[in-house]
Structures are given as C-alpha cells and as structure tokens.
C-alpha cells in the first residue's frame, strides 16, 4: 500500500501538541491577514478554523481529493498538504475571493449555467483548479482541461458538465 504524508496524523500532533502558537502573516483574497497557528496546523486548518473561510472543504486530509484546492500565487495547491506556516508572506486565493467586486468569475457563471455542480462539496476545488489552468493557458483543449482537474474528485457529475463549463468559460474569456 502507498504511504501518504498525512499532516493530520495523530502521532505527529501529539508530539508537538503543547507548542505555543506562532504568528503567520499572509495575504488572503487580497487582504493582509495575521493569525496565530500551531506549527503542525495545515493551511487548510488555518483557513477554516482560524479565518472561518469554510468554503474550502476537507474531503480526505491527504491530498487525494482536491476539495481543499486553493491558489497560492495563482497556482493550484491542496491546502491540506501544506503547513500553515509555509504560507508566510504568500498570496492565497480561496473560493470566497473568486468573485471580484460583486461580479462572478466567468467560471462561476458557466458552472451554474451548465449544471456543473450537484452537491457542491467539491465545487470550490474545481473552480480554483480551473482558474489556475486558465491563468496560464487561455486556450486549453479538452484533454488539458481534464488533466488540470484530474486531482479533483467529483462523485456526482461524472465530470462531463464540469469539462463543458470550463470550456465555455474559455470561450467567454477569449
């Protein structure tokens, strides 16, 4: 069986449970934020538990499902596999920051129009993985779209409408 680094591992946590919290300064959704976190806390926990940004979801805690995908300097990462303190000075975009000035991102619009979400638990992760793709590749083909979201699991849609929604957003942004 495969070994997976798992920051929610009990043994690791018990060893350092009593360590005092440390300061973390970073930018979240365009705003400078400062919080205090345990050295073993993940970026996901800092976002959800310290900043109450619960739009970022926890589906597996070991980087397999992509529900906790956020953008770090425009690049998609899984927030459960990064320690919070590693985000010091970095620029993080979460689902709460994807719509700007009350205007939805074209991906958010097309996800709604194309029915690319059902239960919606995985949706924030998909939107951010897709955003990261379009940031670097403004004209991806279907295979490139599928590759970009291959780290995000969806159990409701079979991906069909998600792929179509991303392709539609590509056209909308062109």
């Amino acid at each position: 069986m495969t070994f997976v680094a798992n920051f929610s591992d009990t043994t690791l946590r018990k060893a350092v449970r009593v360590v005092a919290k440390l300061p973390l300064s970073f930018t979240v959704n365009g705003e400078p934020r400062q919080v205090f976190v345990q050295p073993w806390q993940t970026l996901l926990e800092a976002l959800r538990d310290e900043l109450a940004l619960t739009g970022t979801k926890e589906g597996c805690s070991n980087g397999n499902c992509g529900a906790c995908t956020v953008l770090l300097d425009g690049r998609a990462i899984v927030a459960c596999c990064m320690l919070a303190l590693e985000a010091e000075g970095q620029d993080i975009l979460t689902i709460e920051g994807l719509a700007k000035d009350g205007r939805l991102d074209p991906l958010q619009e097309t996800f709604i129009e194309y029915g690319a979400l059902q239960c919606g638990f995985c949706t924030p992760g998909f939107l951010l993985s897709a955003r990261a793709l379009l940031n670097t590749n403004p004209a991806p083909n279907e295979q490139e779209v599928r590759l970009a979201i291959a780290g995000n699991l969806c159990r409701c849609t079979g991906y069909d409408k998600i792929v179509r929604a991303i392709q539609a957003a590509v056209e909308r942004e062109a």
Binding site: M1, T2, V4, S8, T10, R13, K14, R17, R48, A52, L53, T54, G55, T56, K57, E58, G59, C60, S61, N62, N64, C65, I95, E96, L98, A99, L104, Q108, F111, I112, E113, Y114, G115, L117, Q118, C119, G120, F121, C122, T123, P124, L127, V145, R146, L147, I149, A150, G151, N152, L153, C154, R155, C156, T157, G158, Y159, D160, K161, I162, V163
Partner: protein, 760 residues
C-alpha cells in the same frame, strides 16, 4: 393523482432552469455540517475496533477522563436500556433498531474493523484523539468471517448467537449467519428448462464498494438542559434520524429536532444514524454542543458501503431466442448485522425479461465487515452485472444480436415484475428502439485493435412512500415551499419549477425552504428515486390547495361563487364577465390581513403507483493487450425518464450514476486482508477521475409514467445499474475474455487473457 395522458404546454417544466442553490455553492457559502461552529462547542472522536471480530472483555476510560480538556467519554454503558429499541427502521434497506443500537457502539462484541467502542468529547480535536489512546480495551480476538460463502458453511464462527434464518420453510433449530433466505417464483421452473433448446449457467462475484460521497460524514449535537436534543446533520432523511434518536436515547419524537445541513453527496450512504447518537450522548454527558467529523478512513471503515455478492444465473432458451426459464441465486453480504439489499437485487435481476417460469433465491448473510447501507439502486448493479453478462453469452451462443435478443424477450405493460406486481406503463421497448436507431449502436467502432462494444439493460422500480409539502403565499403574492424534504442535488430546483408552473407565477417569485423536524410535518427520506416523483406530487397537490383557497378569496372579493372564478397568470376573473377581475397580489394581501387569514396549501401523497424505470447503456472500449487496462472510448446512456422535469438536472443524474457504475466496474473495491480494509484512502480506493471517463452522452426517452407529476419518473438510481455489464460485454468483444468478477482491473483482465491464451 390524475393520469397525465396528454402533454400540456408548460412554462417551467421541462426547462433548463438554473439550480436553485447554485450561487451559494460556487461562492463557498453553502454550509455543511463540518462548517458549523457553536459557542462552547466540543470536538468528538470515536475509538474504533482494530479487530474485525473480537469480544470486549473490559473498557477502562479513567485515564482518558482525567486528561485535561476531556469533557466526556461514552461507551455502550451510556446508552439507555433497550426497552424502546424495538421495531424496524425503513430507508432503502431495512434494519432492526436493536441492530442499529448494536452498530452505534459495540456492546460486548466488536463485529467489524472500525466498529465504535467508545467516544470522547474534548476542547480540541487533538486532545480528543490523545484521549482515545488512553482508553484501555481488553479484547479477546475471534477469527473473522470474511465473506458470505464462508459465513454460510455450517462450521463458520457465528457472529450473533441469537440470529436464526428467516425463511418461508421450517423454522431452523440452530442459529446461523444467514439472516434471511427468500424465494420468489413463477410458473414451473423444471418445465421451463425442459422446453429449452439451450440451458446456460454462469456465476459472478462482486466486491464491497463505497458510495464515495466527497463530504465525510459529520454531525453536530446539542443536548439542552431540558432534555431536548438538537442535531445539525448531513443526512438524506431527517425524520429517520429523529426516530432513531428517539429509540436509541429513549426520547419522545418531539424532544429531538433534526436540522439538515447541506449534504455533500449521499447516494444511499447517509440514511442511518451513525454519528448522531454518539454526538448526542457526548453532548448530554458534557452539557456542550459536540461536533464529530469522520476522517476519510473512518468513512470507508465505519459508515456503510455496498454489499459484496455471489450470483449464479441459469436460463433456458429456444433456438429462436425466446427465454423459457430463468433461475437466479443471490448471495449477498450484509456485513455486521442483517439487511443486505436482497429485495432490490431480486427485483432488478430479471426485470427486463418476459418469463413464464422463473425462480429467484436470495440469501442475506452476515460477516465481519462494515454493515452495508444502500448505494444507488441497492443490489441493482451486481444483479445486472450478472444477468446482463449472462444474457449476452446466451445471445451469442444462439447467434442472435444482443439488442435483438433483448427486444425479443422484453417486458411490456401488463407483464409482471419478479414480485408479481404488474407493470403499468413502461418504456423498455421504446428505449431499445432508440438504441437500435442511434449512432452509438449503428455506427462501426472506430478502427483499431482490441476494441469492442457492449450493451446492457438496467431497471429500478422506484420507491414512493409518504411525502408532504406546504406552500405559503405571502402578502405580496410571492410564495415559499416549505418541507422537511432534504435536497440532495436538485430537489429545490425542480420543486421551484413545479410551484411556479402550477401557480403560474414567475420562477423568481418562488422560494424553497428545507425545514427541520420540529417545524415541518413528516415526509420520507430523499432516496429510492422517489423525491422528484413522490415529493413532486405532494408539491403539485399543495399548489392545487393554494389555488382552491385563493379562488375562495377571489370569489369573495368579486362577490361571486368560487366555481365561477377562473385563474391564469396571476389574475382571477369571472368566467361570464372577464372584466370583473382581481390580481393575485390583491387576493394574497387581502387574505393575509383580512378575510380568513394567510394562505397555506398542503399536499400529501402516500400511495402513488410505482413508476418503473428502464435504461440501456452502450459502451465502446479499448483494452491494452500489454497491461489489461480498459479505456472507455464512447459511452451512451439511454433512459426512460417519463418526463424530464429539468433536462440539465436529469442528465446530471444519468452521468453521475453512470460514472459511479464505471468505477464499480473497473477500479473500485475494498481490499480486505483477514477482515481488515487495507486501502481506506482515495489513492488506493480508486474512484474515476476526469481522465478516466469520456463525455457521457444522454439519450432521454420520455414515456410518461402512469401516475405522478407530468408523467415524470424517478431518474437517479437506474443509471448505476447497467455500466458494469455494458463494460464487461464490451471487454469480452475487445479482448476475447469474459470477466465474471468485479472490478475488471488491468490485473484481472491481463490474467484472464493469460488464462485463455488470448494474448496476441
């Protein structure tokens, strides 16, 4: 409800209206149970058995209780005595309340790896986890019963000394791991086989798989000082959770309020109370709200996956292809306590075929595995994998085209289901005719070696049960639908369409609210392909009640009799003098503040006819001769949906169900070693990713149902039924090997090819 014989012109029904709750989901605002945080809230963790089968000799929680930050530790001893734990709970699968009590927390025996032994509430999740390590449990490890066939042997260890097989025959004298042996039959099987020119028999095996919902099971419980319990929970049915809590915690139903949070996928796996009783016990003991969120490994090990099966199929057929007899033996593994989906599998297995002589025997068997829950058309996928693979072989042996073979034997209105209920209007033949004309079937395979095309059928009868809805009309003429019907993926959307359609008001005027058990009347769970169908009928009826009430008010306003009042598009008028009229807003305002009071329409249905659903899937695959990997080139799902209330939502159900069926077929399974699951992560339990699936084309066939709203049928479950067989049939044509086991992993396909020397 009245039969919908002719298709009326509609404004919202059949339209691709946007998902009601989409905006909150694309902006991260939708609240799931794990997102909740209450003042003073504690975090709960569950100690689980590392052994699949063990006696619990002693549990010592003293050290855990002494750990700073720990506020409560509970074990089975904290459950109230079982006097009220009587009866059966419904859902998609039945479970006795005593068994649910046993599953909630192990009493004297751990029945599967992951069985809850104790639970802790503490100020942080880390303290709670540390406390788990301080709980000392003395186990006497017993040999695990690893699969159903082993469990059925007379010398197998017994899981429960008080379990006796339920059967129609003689009452057994000895306890057994076989909980039920059921039989359904028609005609004279021996005569049927004697009439056959060809008798064919095959056996199949499927493994345990998980629903794979992305949201780990989570719940928040708050026990108030007056004894009331409030639960915020991720569930498919709030009233079932309330009833379970009432029985397990010895509380009247009115003292338990269940509030549904948004649910991140259920697929049948979020029906029973699993975490809720533990969270409630911890909250009761600590006096604080308690949140428990499962890890993904706990979800795999301790929630309730789908039943593994062993299935044998024997049929007789004439040379011309007509089936003369069929026998199916279903051995289904329920896991730790009885309740495998033998009913669903029995209904599905022979559903598409007209048979004068048939017999189905089914065994519900307990083993040391997690107790199964429903999984989308529970029992249907393994049953169809077996029978649809088998029928493909029969057709081939007779030299008949697989589609023509199925058309020749297809059931029609008036024929009987396997439980002898007659079919009302069904669309199987229409589905088959659509396949016959469609390019996915008629066009040649794209050129290339090791490619093949497979066809398989699927069936689901669909539940109806009890549904209740209220529609409130506000003083400004807008309306709100209120119910306790949990919205899994699209209920609010479709119900908004129905209310707007019936009240003839703009879509934006209609709000939909999912309430809690304290403030809404009983409605059954969202499962069994019943929600759009049965709840939709209740909503439709509530709207008729609203219109009747409004008509009385309008008549009063117009000084006329209600039967002389007409209504359309937000305006009431007198039939004989249309210039005497009043608008909906005026009537709504007047009724709210004067006259008889606000309008509240009520709709309930309890006895709809079933609206059976048939599907056919066609898959083109390519098999890599070197690795055995199956790649899907093209996939088309044909389904009789009766009437697509919202085609986007319906296609979403079809595509999602097909994708789950494909995962079941090709990659997903619980890897057990001596009863211990070795792959409880999404890396090792391999669900399809975007790279594993093609676009899934949907061909919606609309043969109106005999009952229910607008002719619609339930659509959610039948799409998971055909994929495994469609792929097995395609793999056979692509690679020359017939797979009798799921999943058809590269290794299995490769070995099968080696075994038949088909390599080359």
């Amino acid at each position: 409800m009245a039969t919908v014989s002719e298709r009326k012109k509609t404004r919202y029904i059949g339209k691709r209206t946007p998902k009601y709750d989409a905006l909150e989901r694309v902006t991260g605002q939708a609240l799931f149970a794990a997102d909740l945080h209450l003042p003073g809230m504690l975090h709960g963790k569950v100690l689980r058995s590392p052994h699949p089968h063990a006696l619990i000799k002693r549990i010592d929680t003293r050290k855990a209780e002494a750990l700073p930050g720990v506020k409560a530790v509970v074990t089975a001893a904290d459950l109230p005595p079982p006097e009220r734990a009587q009866g059966m709970l419904g859902g998609e699968l039945l479970i006795s309340i005593m068994d649910l009590r046993r599953l909630t927390i192990a009493h004297d025996k751990a029945l599967f790896e992951g069985h809850a032994i104790a639970a802790v509430a503490a100020t942080t999740p880390e303290v709670a986890e540390e406390a788990l390590d301080l709980i000392q449990v003395d186990y006497e490890v017993l040999p695990p019963v690893e699969n159903a066939l082993e469990a059925m042997s007379p010398d197998a260890p017994l899981l429960q000394p008080d379990l006796y097989t339920k059967t129609l025959g003689e009452q057994p004298e000895r306890p057994s791991n076989v909980a039920t042996h059921s039989e359904s039959s028609r005609g004279d099987l021996e005569r049927g086989f004697a009439e056959a020119d060809l008798v064919h028999e095959t056996s199949y095996e499927t493994k345990m798989v998980h629903q794979g919902y992305l949201e780990p099971t989570a719940t928040v419980a708050h026990a108030q000082p007056d004894g009331r319990i409030t639960l915020w929970t991720s569930t498919q049915g709030i009233f079932g959770i309330r009833r379970s809590l009432g029985h397990l915690l010895d509380l009247p139903l009115g003292k338990v309020n269940v509030i549904p949070t948004e649910i991140g996928g259920g697929f049948g796996g979020k029906i029973y109370a699993i975490l809720e009783p533990l969270a409630a016990l911890l909250s009761r003991k600590s006096g604080h709200p308690v949140k428990i969120v499962m890890s993904r490994a706990e979800v795999f090990r301790a929630t309730g996956p789908a039943s593994p099966t062993h299935i044998t199929v024997k049929t007789g057929a004439k040379k011309d292809g007509r089936l003369t007899a069929a026998y199916v033996k279903l051995v289904m593994d329920a896991g730790a306590v009885p309740g495998a989906p033998i009913g669903g599998a029995s209904l599905v297995c022979l559903a598409p075929y007209k048979l004068d002589h048939m017999k189905i025997e089914a065994y519900d068997v307990v083993t040391n595995k997690p107790r199964v829950q429903a999984y989308r058309a529970p029992g249907g996928t393994p049953a169809a994998f077996a029978v649809e693979s088998h029928m493909d072989q029969v057709a081939e042996r007779l030299g008949i085209d697989p589609l023509a073979f199925r058309m020749l034997n297809a059931v029609d209105e008036g024929d009987r289901m396997t439980d002898d209920r007659p079919y009302n209007r069904i669309g199987l033949k229409e589905v088959l005719r659509r396949v016959a004309k469609h390019p996915s079937w008629t066009s040649p395979l794209p050129p290339g070696p090791h490619r093949g095309r497979g066809l398989a059928l699927g069936f689901w009868a669909g539940a109806t049960l009890t549904s209740t809805a209220h529609v409130l009309v506000h003083a400004d003429g807008t309306a709100t639908l209120v119910s306790g019907q949990v919205d899994l993926t699209g209920t609010r959307t479709t119900m908004q369409q129905i209310v707007a359609e019936e009240l003839q008001v703009p879509l934006e005027s209609v709000s939909v609210r999912v309430g809690d058990t304290d403030s809404t009347p009983y409605t059954d769970l969202s499962a069994g392909s019943r929600t759009a169908y049965s709840f939709g009928a209740a909503v439709h009826n509530a709207c008729q009640d609203v219109l009747a009430q409004l008509r009385v008010h309008a008549a009063d306003h117009l000084t006329a009799q209600p039967e002389h009042v007409e209504y359309a598009d937000g305006r009431f008028w007198l039939r004989d003098s249309p210039d005497q009229n009043v608008d909906l807003v005026t009537v709504a305002r007047r009724s709210t503040f004067r006259a008889t009071g606000p309008i509240c329409g009520r709709g309930t249905v309890t006895r709809l006819q079933p609206a059976p659903q048939f599907a056919a899937h066609v898959a083109d695959v390519e098999v890599d001769p070197d690795t055995g990997k199956v790649t899907i080139l093209r996939y088309t799902a044909f389904q009789d949906v009766g009437r697509a209330l919202n085609p986007t939502q319906v296609e979403g159900q079809v595509q999602g169900g097909a994708a789950q069926g494909i995962g079941w077929a090709l990659t997903e399974y619980y890897h057990f070693e001596k009863g211990v699951m070795r792959n409880p992560t999404f890396l090792d339990y391999r669900m399809p990713t975007s790279l594993d699936l093609p676009m899934i084309d949907c061909e919606l066939v609309e043969v109106p149902a005999s009952d229910g709203p607008y002719g619609a049928r339930g659509v959610g479950e039948v799409p998971i039924v055909p994929p495994a067989a469609a792929l097995a049939n395609a793999v056979y044509r692509a690679a020359g090997v017939r797979l009798h086991k799921l999943p058809m992993t590269p290794e299995e396909v490769f070995r099968a090819r080696q075994a038949t020397s088909a390599i080359g």
